[in-house]
Symmetry: C2
Subunit: 205 residues, 2 copies
């Protein structure tokens, strides 16, 4: 079997995954550039130097590609939340770590999809899954704010509205960030976080 | 002429304006509910109990209606900026006034259009006009931040990035606010502004 022109199945699975990820990334770029509704699968195929049937080999339709773009971006934020779950740091310090990772996720190719595409563009099933992921992040932020109020590192506030304001400011990076900015994503994140952290800290600390 | 079944021309012009505004408002509601791409002129006509030709009498196409929705929302913010131009208040106090008006504009029916619809959906000419209005607002916020830094009411920061973070948090209200929330738009605005104002104020004040 060594002489088979086919690669071992594990290697093929790995290659398939790499190619599938490349389709998702190319789609995220195309959506950001032309808008979701104005982008066709042909546009994405052209971008990758392949034909439309090749795209279908990896993902079943445009909506599924959009769903994967959402998921890839949101996964970076939920990963940060999971890592923080066992941390013994103050609520404020955990929020700072989360906001840095959140800002970084927004400056990736997936940031635009995460904030600009409508839930209406997804089927009810996929929309529900995305809403669950978004809600997990929202609840995670509220919990860190509540922890910070408890340990005195965050001033008294409404956790829900404050979580919306923090997420809103950071989400906005996904709206306007286009790459090639004079500031790096990290620098942009730091400017945003400076304002928000100063806003969270009690006046007595 | 008093017996003419037609109303005087001034009255007719006024009625026309009221009806045109009603079309724009109904469209803003429909766009928010179904998304811009999924809304037809028939949907808007049905909402108003009229036929599509009636819509065409007031506005030439869906894109022009979208443009008017953008403009109606942005006008509320530029009006606030104009009113503040002659104020002798501190930079911080002027920013507070502006943020209140900004938050209120975002909770109107036009908030969704202002932040969710893509510039790609407008013709180059209209897109350019919207960009100019948006830039006027952005520059106005930056100027107030710079004034605040000058008079000591705002801590030292990067005016551009800080303006983006403030506007981002407030714009986000347009994303999620749907009416029927447990908090009024004013209360939501106050929670957001509490965080942002605390973020702007120097620690020594």
């Amino acid at each position: 079997m060594r002489e088979s022109p086919w690669k071992p199945s594990r290697e093929r699975a790995r290659e398939r995954e790499v190619k599938r990820d490349a389709v998702i990334l190319a789609a995220a770029r195309a959506f950001k550039e032309r808008g979701y509704h104005n982008t066709t699968l042909d546009d994405i195929a052209t971008y990758l130097n392949v034909t439309k049937p090749t795209i279908y080999y990896y993902l079943s339709n445009k909506e599924q590609i959009l769903f994967e773009c959402f998921r890839a971006g949101l996964a970076q934020i939920t990963a940060a939340l999971s890592e923080l779950a066992d941390s013994k740091a103050s609520g404020r310090d955990k929020l700072l770590t989360l906001m840095r990772r959140y800002a970084a996720a927004m400056a990736t190719e997936f940031g635009w999809c995460m904030v600009r595409v409508e839930d209406q563009d997804l089927s009810p099933v996929m929309s529900k899954r995305i809403k669950a992921l978004k809600s997990e992040i929202d609840q995670g932020i509220r919990k860190l704010i509540a922890e910070g109020m408890e340990d005195g590192s965050v001033r008294k506030c409404d956790p829900k509205m404050t979580a919306f304001a923090l997420a809103g400011a950071l989400n906005w990076i996904g709206h306007w960030y286009r790459g090639g900015e004079p500031l790096t994503p990290e620098q942009i994140g730091e400017h945003f976080i400076e304002l928000l952290d100063n806003g969270l800290r009690p006046r007595t600390v």
